[in-house]
Subunit: 139 residues, 3 copies
């Protein structure tokens, strides 16, 4: 049994930016040479999140509209008065979605469905350099 901690960086555009990171994660699983285990992907920071969905343009648009309905960008948030950076909506969207996801793997590949992709959701209102911690544990 072995644990590997790695960092991956992504340059994101402003909100909303939904990035399919499945390919990069599968490369890391393959490079680990581990045959069986779990991969934990964790985004550092409080205005981005990790989720899974079928990564196609229609659903990507649906996801953005869903967040806009539940947590509208134009609403007033108390957080906007704390720092004056007007991204209260970004924080709430990230907190509701969650920063981490644990995915099983076998034979060097994540055990995802064919139409199930791991997505980095950038909710901030400006481009960011995002650091992800990718942990691979297994044997």
């Amino acid at each position: 049994m072995k644990i590997i901690n790695e960092r991956v960086n992504f340059d994101t555009k402003g909100n909303p930016d939904l990035i399919n990171i499945t390919g990069r994660l599968n490369e890391m699983v393959a490079a680990s040479k581990l045959k069986k285990g779990m991969l934990n992907v964790f985004v550092v920071g409080s205005t981005a999140a990790i989720t899974t969905f079928e990564y196609e343009p229609g659903l990507t648009k649906d996801m953005q509209e869903l967040y806009e309905r539940i947590i509208p960008r134009s609403k007033h948030y108390h957080h906007d008065q704390t720092w004056g950076d007007a991204n209260g909506f970004s924080h709430l969207r990230a907190a509701l979605t969650g920063p981490a996801l644990l995915v099983p793997f076998e034979k060097g590949r994540l055990l995802l469905g064919t139409w199930q992709q791991v997505v980095l959701a950038e909710f901030d209102n400006r481009p960011r350099k995002r650091e992800l911690i990718v942990q691979i544990i297994g044997e």
Copy 2:
């Protein structure tokens, strides 16, 4: 330290179908003979999810009504135009809830509360054969 990867299959009915899988997971923990560790349950596919709640008929109904309020079935979704299978709402509900859950165990049993069950949430609009990956890691 050891890691075990197993598959479990469930036949689900159409949306909404909330299935209590706690008993099955506890059997797998007991069968593993591991005394202390964590169980990761991950549902393959993008129209189902894993969650926990008190599995009683009233709350099960409340959960279904909650999803119907936040992500109505009858709304138009862009995804419905991509494939024509009219399950955009299923995808969004699954993405918001998440496909994985990590539960601690000790002495061969999951450390859940008495009124806290692990639930497979089938959000698709038709019966499905669901594959779950159950990973048990511990010693």
Copy 3:
């Protein structure tokens, strides 16, 4: 590779009570003497949850208002008829948020962002004694 299971208890006030538990978790990581790994925090029970956000008064208020908008306290829930304890809203908020979070650590500290705190969300409508299972796995 080693796994440590610990219990931590928190006395919570009634809903809403959002408690920053990051300091306590970092102490436990340091005490474990493990250098690299993952920490799983899991709340036992079905009316509380674990999340991450920037723990400052404005955003804490925003989080409470978000839950009140999505899952209002005053609404009627079927669950309230099952037990007569009027906390249907607490169960739904907890189920939507999730009971567990997996956070990576290195050199004895959780790899969180500067403005990213781990928060125990008490959603119940009365003070509770909360038990958290904290699992530290690593080397």
